[in-house]
C-alpha cells in the first residue's frame, strides 16, 4: 500500500515535470495552445477536433493540443490552476464559474472583443452566467436544456398516444407504464427515471416559488415552497413506486436506463440524442417539453463557456482560438454535431433546431428554464442536498427533515469557511 501510493506520487511528479518541460519548449513563431475539456461521447470529440484542424489550417502560426479530462474535471482544473499547469483555454461550466471569476484566475475578455464579434447575438442569460460585475470572463459555447424523452413503443403498448402535459398526467401515465411482466415482485419497467441530484431537480424545487440559494449565498432548501415541489418526486418514488433511479435498475445514467428500456420516460438533455441513436439503434423514442408543474413551465438550462487562463503566455493566440470557436461560422460547425444547442440566436435559427422535432422541445425550454448556477457556494450546497435527498427517497426521514438537515449542514459549512 505504501509503495503503491509512493509510486503514484512519483508518477504524478514526473507528469508535472514533463508538462512544465513541454510548455517551455516552444519556438517564437509557432504558439502551441493547450485546450482542455470533457467529452460526453466520442462524437463530441471528433466534431471538436475537426474544427480545431480547420482552425490550424487557417492559422499556421498556432497549434492546438486538445486534451480530454475524463473524470473529476473541475478538481483537475482547479489543481492545475494552483500548480500553474493549467491549459491556456478550457471549458467551464456555468455552475463553477462564480468561484473562478471571484478568485481572478481567468482573463477578462472585454478588451479582446471586437464589434464584429456581435456580442448581442448571444442569448443574454447564457452570457450573464460568465459575467462578474460587468466583466466578461467566458464566451458561452453552447447550452443544453432538459426535456422529456419517452419510449414510443412502450407508450403504444400502454395505450397512451400523447406525452404528458402536466405533472399529474405524468404520474398517471407512469402508473400505466410500470410493469412487472413475470410477476416475480421485481418491477421490469418503470414509468419515470429520475436523477436524485440538485443539478436536475433545482427547477422542481422552484416550481412553487421556492428558492435553493438565498441572496446572501446561503442554502434555502427547507422552505415550505421548495419542499412542496420536491415532494412530488419523493411521493412518486415512495408511494406510487413508478419511478426508479439509475442504480435501482443497474444503470449508470438516466439515458442508459432509458436506452435499456427499463424506464419509459426520462428527463435528459440533447447530449442523449446522439448517444441513444448510436448505442440503442432500435429504440423508438420521441421528445416533448417537460410537463408543467403547478401550471408553470420549467426546466433546467446548463451552459459551458470557453475561458482563458490568466497566466497563459499566448493571450492573443488564445483569444483567436476562442473567437474562432464561438463566432458565427465556428458555432455553426459545432452546433451541427448535435450534442448541445448553439448559444448564438442567429445560429440557432440558421440550423433550424426550433423546427426539428427532436430538438425543438429543448429550444422551447430555453425561454423558461432555470440556469444551473447560484453563486460560489452552490458546489457546497449541492453535496448536502444530494446526500439528504437520497435519504428522503429511501424513506429514512421525511423530505422536510432531510432538507432541514441539508440546509443546516450546508450553511454551517459555508459559515465555517469564512473565518
Amino acid at each position: 500500500m505504501i509503495w503503491q501510493s509512493f509510486g503514484r506520487w512519483f508518477s504524478a511528479l514526473l507528469a508535472i515535470l514533463a508538462l512544465t518541460a513541454c510548455t517551455q519548449t516552444h519556438s517564437n513563431e509557432i504558439a502551441t495552445l493547450s485546450l482542455s475539456g470533457w467529452q460526453s461521447s466520442p462524437t463530441e470529440r471528433q466534431a471538436l477536433e475537426q474544427i480545431l484542424r480547420e482552425f490550424e489550417a487557417q492559422h499556421p502560426q498556432i497549434r492546438v493540443r486538445f486534451e480530454v479530462i475524463a473524470d473529476q474535471y473541475m478538481d483537475v482544473i482547479k489543481t492545475r490552476l494552483i500548480g500553474d499547469a493549467a491549459p491556456d483555454v478550457f471549458f467551464l461550466d456555468a455552475f463553477e464559474a462564480p468561484l473562478l471569476m471571484q478568485h481572478g484566475v481567468l482573463e477578462p475578455l472585454d478588451r479582446y472583443i471586437q464589434p464584429d464579434f456581435d456580442l448581442a447575438d448571444f442569448e443574454p442569460n447564457l452570457l450573464n452566467a460568465f459575467k462578474l460585475q460587468g466583466t466578461i470572463y467566458g464566451i458561452p459555447k453552447d447550452f443544453s436544456t432538459l426535456a422529456l424523452f419517452y419510449n414510443r413503443r412502450q407508450f403504444a403498448d400502454a395505450n397512451l398516444s400523447n406525452p404528458p402535459q402536466t405533472w399529474e398526467q405524468l404520474r398517471d401515465d407512469s402508473r400505466q407504464l410500470t410493469l412487472d411482466r413475470n410477476r416475480n415482485g421485481r418491477i421490469d419497467q418503470y414509468g419515470l427515471g429520475i436523477s436524485p441530484e440538485l443539478a436536475r431537480q433545482k427547477f422542481v424545487a422552484q416550481a412553487y416559488g421556492g428558492t435553493v440559494v438565498d441572496r446572501r449565498g446561503y442554502a434555502a432548501l427547507a422552505s415550505r415552497r421548495s419542499v412542496r415541489g420536491l415532494q412530488l418526486i419523493i411521493d412518486q418514488y415512495r408511494q406510487d413506486r413508478t419511478a426508479a433511479t439509475p442504480s435501482d435498475v443497474g444503470a449508470s445514467s438516466g439515458s442508459e436506463m432509458f436506452g435499456q428500456q427499463r424506464v419509459a420516460m426520462v428527463l435528459e438533455g440533447p447530449w442523449a440524442i446522439p448517444y441513444l441513436q448510436e448505442t440503442f439503434s432500435d429504440l423508438e423514442f420521441a421528445i416533448a417539453q417537460v410537463p408543467k408543474i403547478n401550471r408553470r413551465s420549467g426546466t433546467m438550462v446548463y451552459t459551458t463557456a470557453y475561458v482563458m487562463n490568466k497566466r497563459t503566455r499566448h493571450k492573443e493566440a488564445a483569444w483567436e482560438l476562442i473567437e474562432y470557436l464561438t463566432n458565427k461560422t465556428g458555432m455553426k460547425a459545432w452546433g451541427e454535431a448535435g450534442i448541445a444547442l448553439p448559444s448564438r440566436k442567429s445560429v440557432l435559427a440558421q440550423l433550424g433546431r426550433d423546427r426539428d422535432p427532436l430538438y425543438s422541445p429543448f429550444v422551447k425550454g430555453a425561454s423558461y428554464a432555470t440556469l444551473w448556477q447560484a453563486g460560489e457556494n452552490l458546489p457546497a450546497i449541492l453535496t448536502h442536498f444530494n446526500n439528504q435527498f437520497v435519504s428522503a427517497l429511501l424513506g429514512q426521514k421525511s423530505l422536510q427533515q432531510a432538507m432541514e438537515d441539508a440546509q443546516q449542514a450546508a450553511n454551517r459549512e459555508i459559515q465555517a469557511q469564512n473565518y
Partner: protein, 299 residues
Amino acid sequence: MFKSLIKSQQRQEAFSGYLFMFPTLLILGVFLVLPILFSIFLATHRVQILGEVSYRFVGLRNLTRSTADPRVGIALRNTLEYVLIVVPVQTILALALALILDLKIRGKSWFRVIFFMPTVTSAAVLTLIFMWIYNSNGLLNNLLEKVGLPTYNWLGDPNVALKSIMIMNIWSTAPFFMVIYLAALQDIPTYLYEAAKLDGANEMDRLWNITLPLLKPVTFFIVVMGIIGTFQLFDQSYIFSGGSGGPNNATLTFVLLIYQYAFKNLDIGYAAALALVLALIIMLVTAIQRRLFKDEKAN
C-alpha cells in the same frame, strides 16, 4: 594535550560520520521532515490557494472547527466501523487460508497462486469489476435470487454500501496476509510438533499450543498493517461513490473527507488539520496495541 587530541579526533569522526549520512539526511529532510512540518504549518493557517496565494494564522481554529463538523463525525464512525469489522475478519480469514494451504493437499501451489491473484490486481480495476458484480441486475443479486435469498441495491442503499466495500476489501487483502502467515508457518520447527505428538497431543492441541503462540509476532504485524491500511481507505470508496462518499455519506471515509476538503473545496488548511487528526489516531491505536503486546510478552 592528549585529551584535546582525542577530542579533535572525535570531532573529526563525528564530522565524517555526518558527511556519510548527509545524502540520506537530505533526502529524508526534504521528503519526510519538511512535508510534516509544512502540514503542521498549513493546519494552523487559513490558506487561500487559488489565484492570489495567502496564508493567515488562525491557531487551533481549524481543529476546533473539526469538532463541530458533522461530516467529520460521520467519516470517523464509518472508518471505525470499517476497521473494526475488516481487520479481525481478514486476519482470521488469512490465518485459516494459510493453515489450509499448509496442509498436504494436492495442487496446493495452484491454490496459492489463485488465492494470491486478487492482491496483485490493481485496486481500481478490482473496484470496477466489483461494481459490475454488485450492480442491481448483476452477478451477485442473480445468484442470491437463484438460491432464494434477499437481494440488495449494493451500491445505492446507504445501509449496505459500506458493507459492499468491506466484502470486497477483505477478499482482496486477506490473501496478502495469508502469504505472510504461510511464510511464518514454514518457520515453525517440526521437532516441536513431533515432540507434542509423542506426548499425545492431538491436532487441536498442537494448533492452540504451538502454532498460534508462535505466530503471535506475525499476527501483531498483520493487525498493525491491517489497521493502518483500513484507516487509510480511500480509492475503493472514491470509485464506488464517484468521489462523493454517497449514498447519503454511507461510504464517506476519513481520507475521502480530507480529499474533498483539499481538492473540491480547496480548503487546504482545514484538510491538513484533519490529516493531522488522522495521523494522531493511527499513532494512538498502534501505541495501544504495542502496549497490549508488550504486557503479554512480560507475562
